[in-house]
Amino acid sequence: MSHLITSPVLIPLLAGIVLLMVRDQNISAKRAISIVSLLMQLACALLLLKTVGTGDILTYALGNWPAPYGIVLVADRLATWMLTITALLAIFAFTYATLNTDRAGRHFHVLFQLQLFGLNGAFLTGDLFNLFVFFEILLLASYGLMLHGGGRLRTKASLHFVVINLAGSTVFLFAVGALYGVVGTLNMADLAQKIANVPAENVVLVKAAGLLLFSVFALKAALLPLYLWLPAGYAQTSAPVAALFTIMTKVGAYSILRVYSLIYGSNAGASAHLIERWLLPLALASLIVGVIGVLGSKHLRVQIAYLVVASVGTLFVAFGINSTQSISAGLYYLPHTTFASAALFLLADAIANRRGAVADKLDAGPVIASPRLLGGIFLVLAMLVAGLPPFSGFLGKLMLLKSAVNHTAMPWVMGVVLVSGLLTMIAMARTGSLLFYKANAAYIEELSSHKVRVAPFAKTDARELVSIIGLLSLCLMMTIWAEPIIVFTQATAEQLFNPMQYINAVLSQS
């Protein structure tokens, strides 16, 4: 039994504890510890990726208590893929945070590491109650991170975020309790095995628990109609935190994929395919609502938050079609949209810092410093999120549409995905021209009379560029090395459709 699988969970936890002991004034030590921890997490994730790339499923019984009695950590292709995405995203979000966000309040570094602890744990755990615990860890850290820096609007958005997530946690516990009461186990592999043999009078309870779980995961993933907390929350928090939070909606997506392919998969007897008729319509509706939000936003950061809602919609369209091709397309689209929206959040902050009082309002403002560089980055990112060729967004959507050809809802999928792509393009073109081509006459006058004040951030910092361009180039690399990535996501989807492999890996070790 290799101990490597525990490292993505242990490294951030230990780093967080060590960081707690370093004094706040010693910012460079804190940054050094954080970055070492992040690089180690990335190394471990890549190592795991190499190990599970052969098709093996690694399991680890915590405390050596055999499954299904103890808690197991399970690293299959999907979990490791998510770990890698999280580690990459965290490095660049953290780089941006070292500009000035991490000094805006106390314990930023600790919370950041604990957030990663929760995220990595949620991806690796093979136990439903343990998934709840890791959800709570990542939520507790996210409450702190979201409030970090303070401010009126941030407090208001945080209050809504915390209250709705607490309500969500309660629902999660009801679902877990009901499942345990009926099936008598919480190990996901064991649940998957036993769920088909539930007596007929209890099937309705199992189904109710499954749908309760779906509502919780949909809340985390910001699926319609449970997305209302997202735009305000993501728009009001600090940029690096918003960038890191783009993976939080994907935790919901991951959980849905895991629970409904494993526990409520095709082997689940009477409770099989529980959410199939809900997922696709809700996903299409989310996509539509997200794009309407993108078109209607008056602030850049709100617009990007709605882009996240739309991307969640697209992701769930892929999961909702529920074939190997579509899930493979979804798993390719997932890191693309995570990195692209995170880069946009960071870029929006860089732009807002250069526009003085206008900040990120979508209105004619001052002429911003280094417009060619920022404008160029914006153009590429806009093409990425709108899904224009030749970038990764296009490839993801192309594979998605290809997988939908033989589906009964094909016209809906085609229509909604293509039209939403067009509308996103229009909205991004308008935003880009407002930000980079149009300037307020008063500001131009000010500029020509050399009275213009230098914004506090006007000088381009290397860390700013490294983080934004880093995330951008991850998307470009996904375009260049699309083939090996698609081979991997295809294998991941096939592994998900063959839950017996997961069940055997977890339960045979005892």
Binding site: F129, V133, E136, L140, Y143, L147, G150, G151, R152, T155, K156, S158, L159, H160, V162, V163, L166, A167, S169, T170, L173, F174, V176, G177, A178, Y180, G181, L186
Partner: protein
């Protein structure tokens, strides 16, 4: 006893849902607390209600109480306790930052 516990959980949940839909932060905090009480009882009852049965190995015992829900409920209590403390502080902070205790930060017109 089952009926009593079920009724209790139902009433607690009902109060919790009603209060958490109110527009003052204090009621919302109380509502969330009621909800967490309800779910803790629910988790506890999921191990089936037994009286006088040992939860751990006892050679003379013929019937056991399920120890797992007790462990689960302990975890859930700790977590909901921490969350309640956090949300109370956050409610106080929003009262200070926004100038009132309305959940949306502004009074109804």
């Amino acid at each position: 006893m089952e009926a009593l516990i079920a009724l209790l959980i139902g009433v607690l949940t009902m109060c919790g849902v009603y209060l958490s839909l109110r527009n003052r932060t204090f009621s919302v905090v109380l509502g969330l607390t009621f909800l967490s009480y309800a779910v803790n009882l629910f988790l506890f009852a999921m191990g089936r209600l037994t009286i006088g049965a040992p939860p751990i190995l006892d050679n003379s015992a013929t019937n056991y109480a399920d120890p797992l829900p007790q462990a689960l409920v302990l975890t859930a209590i700790v977590i909901s306790f921490a969350m309640t403390a956090y949300v109370i502080v956050l409610a106080l902070k929003s009262r200070a930052d926004l100038g009132n205790d309305h959940v949306d930060g502004k009074e109804d017109d």
